[in-house]
Amino acid sequence: MQYRTRNIYLIPYAAWIVLFVIAPIVLIAYYSMFDIDGALTLGNYRRFFTPVYMGMAVRSFWYAFLVTMFSLLVAYPTAYLLTKTKHKQLWLLLMIMPSWMNLLLKAYAFIGMFGTYGPVNALLSAVGIGTKQILFTEFSFIFVAVYIFVPFMILPIFNALDELNPSLVAAARDLGASGWHTFRRVVFPLTINGVKSGCRAVFIPALSLFMITRLIAGNRVITLGTAIEQHFLVTQDWGMGSTIAVFLIIAMGLTMVLTGSGEEGRQHVK
């Protein structure tokens, strides 16, 4: 009886997973086998390994890597300072709040700020540097992407730091470790799982960014996400779009494997 009850509980989750996780992936894999005329082929995969798509893939990885790295550089010290503040939950909330706002809205705000007549350029000319082209550059793309993703990096690192037993740090200092040593040998290794899950939360979505490549980078940055969008909406070459999506899924899976699963980490910390 009890066993049966448990099965009933499982139904909604199983249905959810089958309908919204497994079925879409199977469909994508299925569509990737068809060419533009609807004939069964593996040509899409061959096409993916041509310089055009390979170049795009390399760039996607490079930009995702840069975005993740800068997010980490910003997020770690921020999360560290957060744990030292008095009202840390309040500060954390303030940090997270911007991520509740619509992405499109934020992108448009940045267009205004980075524009030739925007406040950033006004400031630059006021201090004598002069007007620079900021919008539609790789810099602006990475800046905005980091801005968008930083909360997702701060949160897991903050949690890991918050759970860190302060007496371990005190013990390291007592035993004569310098501040840098304490960080490198004690704090960082104990929070590595927070860093890993933060990197995953940033790297994976950054890999398939597409909207801000047009709005902020003016298509000067081309990623695989752009190509998928174009194949589905303009060319109607769903096969090629799906093939790229299959590669992205594989890449994301690999990222998960390489950064280890979060489960084991949590046990260590607790």
Binding site: D37, I111, T116, L233
Partner: protein, 359 residues
Amino acid sequence: MKKVMQVFITVFLAAFALVGVTSYLNSSNGYSGADTLTVYNWGDYIDPDLIDKFQRETGIKVVYETFDSNEAMLTKIARGGTAFDIVIPSDYAINKMKAEGMLIRLDHSKIPNLKHIDPRFLDLSFDEGNKYSIPYFWGTMGIIYNPELTQGKEFSSWEALWDTDLRSEILLVDSAREVIGVGLNSLGYSLNDTDTDHLQEAYRKLCELTPNVKAIVGDEIKMLLANEEAAVGVVWSGDAAIIMDENDKLDYVIPSEGSMVWLDNIVIPRTARNIEGAHLFINFILDPENSAQNTEYVGYATPNAAALEYLPEEITGDERFYPGPDVTDNLEVLANLGKRMLGYYNELFLEFKMHRKRA
């Protein structure tokens, strides 16, 4: 346990109720009969006073619904469950709708006002003999520029875009056919060229344009040009009119080598229930006076030659939006090149976007 089951049952019942309501709403949208007419059009693309006038004159009630892209419109009609009597798609969408049997042949005897349409806009490649479609508004593709920022440079030729003075000053629309078309036109080839050598040549020519390209953007191009973010843009005339409305310093020109002409057209889709009323409506819109009134409201160029008399000289005399036959002879409608060729155009466009800037 009981409670959990109750929650489940409630959720399922609610879900089914919602499904029921949705299908009811879907079926009721566009319930046309003899006394109603459902028009499916772009937002704000007809003078509402004309709809009132049509209702008063004919006693047919008009239901007006809108779409914001040809693709969205196609999907909705293909999915079925709609009863639109009049739809206003762009030229390339007509091709698709024709191929998929989504259109009803027009009865020209019921549209006597067809004679007012300028023959330049009739019998075009996407619908020879206008068996299925009637032109509604038209426009071109060209260069919009800010004379203050470009120091009186001439833009009567596409070649002007390649000028080294325009480093990082040009905005392009994010659309493959249009941008590759600029390359083709500048080389004197047709916009509908399918010769891969010519296309490669156009691609290489476009790569030389890269240092001048500031960005390739979508609808934001209007805002960016009106705010003087860039000095030059390659845009559709409809967008150009909107931009110049906001910033009157800018000017629009159709390059002499040739360019693209686009048309939005009235059609009767297969789903129509009030075919008689749809013909009445088309004829009503084509009436010169009504057409002129509509043109003043919408602000695009009308293909209705007889309507021009009712429009003020400052509108019809504007060569930028009502170019003479010497210019329109060089303009081409985008032809349907087939999925494969479209795929090739898009891949070239992707490669062009990836081409690095050599500053």
